[in-house]
Amino acid sequence: MDESLRERVMVRLERCVGCRSCELACRVAHSQSGTLWGAVMEEPKPRRRIFVEQAAESPAPFLCRHCEDAPCVRCCPTGALRFDETSGLVAYAVDRCIGCHACVMACPFGVVQPGRGDLFVVKCDRCEGRDRPACVEACPTRALVLETAFLVDRRRRAVGRFVEAARLDISEADLMAAGSAQSP
């Protein structure tokens, strides 16, 4: 991957146990004190940019996908939200924002939040200044991973499935139905 591009956060949904550690870590990463014990005492309270919802029987973390052709960017009248070619992220410039919240309505994932007094809009900034985002570091089951790791993991598991199915001489579908350790 190009050096200047910043890897986005990918979700391995099947691994999420709904512990909400990512939510806490995101708030701490966007707090004044930078510590959990300090963050809970702060006013205004630091906001999270990731949301763990119960979706279709499963806990599911939602965060900004940093879409390349983003609905929020398209609808932003001031250019406050724009796709930054260098980082590959949807960037937000608060000084251009008028707080119309068109983006809030446009985001298909509901991950752009209206600010409450202190900020116009709150959304994932992919943890500015951090190599590994706070949510990725915090996730105990590694449900949240960066793009490269995500792709490598998917490829290796796929090969693992082929090999295991071949060894057992069954179809891949049967292998998955039997609950293989190599399930995606």
Partner: protein
């Protein structure tokens, strides 16, 4: 996985610890530090005390930032959940100490009844003194009769019939009045723990303040009840500690001797092992096997108990328990209960070490279980020592690494009786030294190790600062072992103290950091504080005293901290307790409680800042006393 120098140094300040962290890594062991890394990140809800799994409508979590759920399924809010969780931690800690105390009472009774061969009454003086406190006249009775009667009276303390525990007789009047007014005078020992479990069941006590008050009462039932009994009965059975020289660190394990390491908390087993290790027949067997003797060494508080009374050297504290095995020199490790990591048995499988569990209530994977009972302890101890001696030949030379450093000298054995003895029989000279300012005050630095804190750094840094500022340090438990390893427990360490304390230590020939024993022996500190307050006709909270637990980890430590504060001693914790999910509870415990009890908690992970806070507190107390 091998560790870099920086990684090793971040884990421990100890020389032996650093050597054996690398050895353990080379041997492929997974240690407590590795497991801690693997657990990271730890759950923030639990860190804040905001998760509840007290019933099966849950588990529930409260969002500390106010957006998500603010109530559990039952309706409990953050304050209720934090208070209930803290209450249960106290109950678990108090239960542990108190159950340990009860085991000693059982031995006391069996000694009296003649059913505990090998055990005896080592301190008739203390037996008589304590019996008198329980209203049992000694006249004409044999020590055996007295032991049975006292044991019976103590058994009653565990039940429900008392209005107040007997040892409250030692508590200053003013303190008793505060407890009565707040309704936290401890009644039966087990009663308070049992009541805490009841109150924290769904749908019982849902007032966070009343839960916390009962928490204090529960902790007091440990401090002035269960732990107090444990210490006093240990003294009756095994003798009152007197100053004794010894040594500490992994260098105490001898290459040419049979090494038996004793780990846990209760002296009942280890005292019998101590006796058996003197047996000429077993010593002869050892020399037959090519060993130059049988070497006992301690870990954690079982170690402290033996150190205090017999001068047995210490191999280390809590975080050294796994590394001790990595020397390859431990022929047998015998454990009783508490603070014994369940990982130990598996680690020992890498070596020739025999792992022995001894308590009917504490079993561990990969350990052979040899249950001790008072009736058969003597013969059991001989059997185990024999096994250890026979195991000496099975050492694996390729896996042996004797500690490269020599053991550090230390002095232990400072019971209240020994301290008063050193002072010439009364607390008056200590009071004079405090009045003159030569000794500014005294601080109990106690508690565990915790892999979240660089091993021993919290203890040693805090204590060095305190003694430099003429504050006498008394210590117990793993903190005491940390100080000993750092060389602070020899009379020559007086040179590290401020001018006033230095002079006092030199004139009495004592170190500036006094080893008062195991974790149940924190009651010796309470006892001494109460004696000072009584001698001055005042309350404990008026004295220039403080306590600190810089590296605490256990539920027992929570109970200890709570009974210290409830007894009027300002207490600083190094690791944040799981209460920060309730700003109200944090404010109560760190500020408002001062108005009720004359003491409060503080949380300060930085030991230098903790020292500054304690010094400031001591200055305030001195000023209030007009000193």
């Amino acid at each position: 996985m091998l560790l870099t120098k920086a990684e090793i140094e971040a884990r421990t300040i100890t020389e032996d610890g650093q050597v054996f962290l690398q050895k353990a890594a080379q041997d492929g062991l997974e240690t407590v530090w590795d497991r801690y890394q693997a657990q990271k990140p730890q759950c923030g809800f639990c860190e804040l005390g905001l998760s509840c799994r007290n019933c099966s409508m849950g588990p529930c979590r409260i969002d500390p930032f106010g957006e998500g759920p603010q109530r559990g399924v039952c309706g409990a809010d953050a304050d209720i959940i934090v208070a209930r969780n803290l209450g249960r931690m106290i109950a678990a800690g108090a239960a542990s100490h108190s159950d340990h105390g009860r085991d000693l009472v059982e031995v006391l009774r069996k000694v009296g009844e003649g059913h505990a061969p090998g055990y005896t009454i080592r301190s008739e003086e203390k037996l008589k003194k304590v019996a008198a406190e329980f209203g049992i006249a000694a006249d004409g009775k044999t020590p055996a009769d007295l032991a049975v009667e006292l044991a019976h009276a103590m058994e009653e303390e565990f039940g429900t019939r008392k209005k107040a525990l007997t040892f409250l007789g030692r508590v200053p009047e003013k303190r008793r009045a505060i407890w009565d007014k707040l309704g936290i005078t401890p009644r039966g020992i087990d009663r308070e723990t049992s009541e805490m479990m009841h109150r924290t069941h769904m749908g019982v006590d849902n007032d966070w303040q009343s839960l916390l008050l009962h928490g204090l009462r529960n902790a007091l039932s440990d401090g002035w009840g269960g732990s107090f009994i444990a210490t006093e009965v240990s003294d009756i059975l095994f003798g009152i500690p007197q100053p004794v020289p010894s040594e500490v660190n992994l260098g105490v394990l001898k290459e040419n001797q049979v090494n038996i390491v004793l780990h846990g908390h209760n002296p009942i087993v280890s005292e019998m092992i101590y006796e058996a290790a003197q047996d000429p027949e077993l010593l002869a067997l050892a020399s037959e096997k090519g060993a130059e003797g049988i070497n006992l060494a301690g870990l954690c508080c079982t170690g402290n108990e033996l150190l205090m009374r017999r001068g047995i050297p210490m191999a280390g504290n809590h975080l050294m328990t796994e590394l001790a095995l990595s020397t390859g020199l431990v022929d047998m490790m015998i454990v009783d209960y508490q603070c014994i990591m369940p990982a130990l048995g598996e680690i020992a499988t890498c070596y020739h070490t025999l792992m022995i569990s001894t308590s009917d209530k504490a079993k561990f994977p990969h350990m052979a279980h040899h249950e001790f009972h008072p009736e058969t302890a003597q013969s059991k101890a001989r059997e185990l020592v024999r096994m250890a001696v026979e195991n000496y030949e099975r050492r694996l030379p390729a896996k042996v690494l004797p500690a490269p450093n020599t053991p550090t000298r230390m002095m232990a054995g400072f019971s209240v009786e020994a301290i008063l003895g050193a002072l010439g029989g009364s607390p008056a000279p200590l009071i004079e030294a405090i009045k003159s300012g030569a000794v500014q005050g005294a601080v109990g630095v106690v508690g565990c190790n915790n892999p979240k804190i660089r091993q021993d750094f919290g203890h040693v840094t805090l204590t060095r600062h305190l003694i430099e500022n003429d504050i006498l340090v008394v210590d117990t438990g793993c903190a005491a072992v940390a100080h000993a390893k750092a060389g602070l427990k020899v009379p020559e360490a007086a040179a590290l103290a401020g001018p006033g304390l230095q002079q006092v230590c030199k004139s009495l020939g004592i170190p500036p950091v006094l080893h008062m024993g195991s974790c149940v022996d924190n009651v010796r500190i309470l006892d001494l504080a109460a004696a000072l307050a009584n001698a001055l006709g005042t309350d404990i909270s008026d004295l220039p005293l403080a306590a600190a637990a810089p590296e605490w980890y256990s539920e027992k430590a929570v109970s200890i901290a709570c009974y210290a504060v409830a007894s009027g001693i300002f207490t600083v914790l190094g690791t944040p307790p799981p209460i920060f999910g309730s700003p109200k509870i944090v404010k109560l415990l760190t500020e408002d409680i001062e108005g009720l009890l004359g003491a409060s908690f503080a949380v300060e992970p930085d030991p230098e800042k903790a020292a500054a806070r304690i010094e400031q507190h001591i200055r305030q107390k001195r000023k209030a006393l007009g000193l």
